[in-house]
Subunit: 335 residues, 2 copies
């Protein structure tokens, strides 16, 4: 039925503005009138406004403002990313769902997207606000043939894809905050949560969760986020078409994923967009000898392995593999 | 009941060689005679030979040659590793079980051990022969607070623990074949399969599977393994007590795990035991630019990150993150 539904939708799109008879649909698709009727009914339940008039046929009046797979797929030019898309009006967490799908054999490039998340997750167990219809809350399942410890570069690759897509669609200048947030100005517009599983020598899968604030107004954010977060709409002063944006994002991801640049190359590609390099930063490291010790200093380099080098006021350098980085803003506070 | 059973066993051990009356047991443990009787019955089903004589009581005659948690725990000196032990007469794979336990909250240091595996797994989807009662087929669940890409050092740490335990118990000189096999002479005696899952910045868990051939004779190995594998018994000419061995292994692991040496330190600690360094090798790399290309050369170094540096005949160096390494033996073949 899924294929029939898509084919009907395709024909309705082709004949936009005109009525298309049930008979013509049945004839062109070589299906029964009942199958046409069932397909139309499913499309309506998904939110498509389709007018049916006796003796005239069906007219596509309005497309729902939803990230439906058939809509995303229309005009999407990718080879791997988004070949399979699963859409949910509401879900606990797209990462959780993508990981469950990975266990049951979902292919490389599978995309899970939701209108809203009830338990959206950020890094290190934090929650992620995902109000209905206002953002891209999605996870891309990747199955690169690399050791588990090399999967980190796909986080950077995803951040770069977000930067490129946002630049392309909204003409904004987003920057990457090491290791995997995207900022506009001093505010967070996107977070990336990458989770992986497998043998150390060969990843089984990587689930790259992308939470991108698109059409929120200030009042949509919780009080604690209001001063730290922003949306594309707030930044560019207009509503952003989520379908155009997600297509751009999947295409940028696809291009980078096919190229598979190594870490040194990726570090070079992302350097111009770094919000961290050169900034005074405060870091709360994760793991290792410096766990729990808060460091301040200047971010002076990103190594070819993607690690951040901090230089403190005494000129001592430390290499960080992971951590929470706060960047000192113009007013002297850390964001 | 588990606690009662353990307490009864403890008292029987204390009074080894003498009968202990049911009444004395009940009185000392402050339990009913029925509870004593039930505990004895469970111990018997586990394989303990306990003689019961009216008016005399119970006598521990023989302990089964099994890796029962209560036996492993007797005289085990560890702080984290093996605080919880799960034993299975037969299981599909201890790694698979440990990963399932990890999902349901099993604590750091949980050990899963089996007498036999029906679907024992080696690296990259290979199978691992695990005949009943002849080896240590076990998985240690670790929950270090480190980024996922840093979990690789726990594989090396585990290999070092195996080397130390085998040296201590059997007076053999095992060597580590990069990245995570243990050899005696040119033959494999132990394989380590590490699987991990979690956020890239914070591992959720690491399952370190250890398959150690202990008491096999040559005929226990399949024809294809017979020339490549060995057991501790074959190497040292006598049966090895698996309980003594597993305790030694858990203790060595515990010590190293508490120290948490960094990668550079671990590389230094394992260098004297390396079977790979200095040898002529053939490598089948995993992932990256050299995927699928077979390299030959000399293994000249292990980097502080634990990666292998190969120098080919033209003097060109390559750094490998993962791969299958074959070492050229004295007769010119690769093992």
């Amino acid at each position: 039925m899924d294929r029939t539904k898509k084919a009907i939708l395709e024909l309705l799109y082709k004949n936009q503005g005109e009525y298309l008879s049930g008979e013509a649909l049945a004839c062109q698709l070589k299906i029964s009138r009942t199958a046409v009727w069932k397909g139309i009914r499913i499309l309506k339940t998904e939110g498509y406004q389709i007018k049916g008039v006796p003796h005239l046929g069906y007219l596509l009046q309005n497309v729902p403002d939803l990230l439906l797979p058939a809509e995303i797929a229309r005009g999407l030019h990718t080879q791997i990313i988004g070949r399979e898309i699963q859409h949910f009006p509401e879900i606990d967490s797209t990462n959780t769902r993508a990981r469950a799908l990975a266990k049951t054999g979902a292919p490389d490039g599978t995309v899970v997207v939701a209108e809203a998340q009830t338990a959206g997750r950020g890094r290190r167990g934090r929650s992620w606000e995902s109000p209905p219809g206002l953002g891209l809350w999605m996870t891309v399942l990747l199955r690169p043939k690399v050791p588990l410890q090399e999967t980190a570069r796909f986080t950077l690759l995803s951040a770069l894809a977000v930067v490129r897509a946002v630049t392309r669609v909204c003409a904004l200048s987003p920057r990457i905050k090491w290791p995997n947030d995207v900022l506009i100005g001093d505010r967070k517009v996107c977070g990336i949560l990458a989770e992986a599983s497998g043998e150390l020598e060969m990843a089984e899968y990587l689930a790259v969760g992308i939470g991108l604030n698109v059409n929120q107004e200030g009042s949509h954010f919780s009080p604690e986020l209001r001063r730290k977060a922003t949306s594309l709409r707030l930044a560019c002063g207009r509503m952003v078409d989520r379908l155009v944006l997600i297509r751009a994002l999947l295409e940028e991801l696809d291009g980078l994923y096919l190229e598979q640049p190594g870490f040194p190359e990726l570090v070079d590609l992302t350097r111009p967009y770094s919000a961290t390099l050169g900034a005074r930063v405060r870091v709360d490291p994760v793991g290792g000898a410096t766990e729990g010790q808060c460091l301040t200093g200047r971010a002076v380099a990103i190594t070819p392995d993607g690690w951040l080098v901090i230089e403190d006021d005494a000129g001592r350098r430390q290499v960080l593999h992971a951590g929470d980085v706060s960047i000192r803003s113009a007013d002297g506070g850390y964001v």
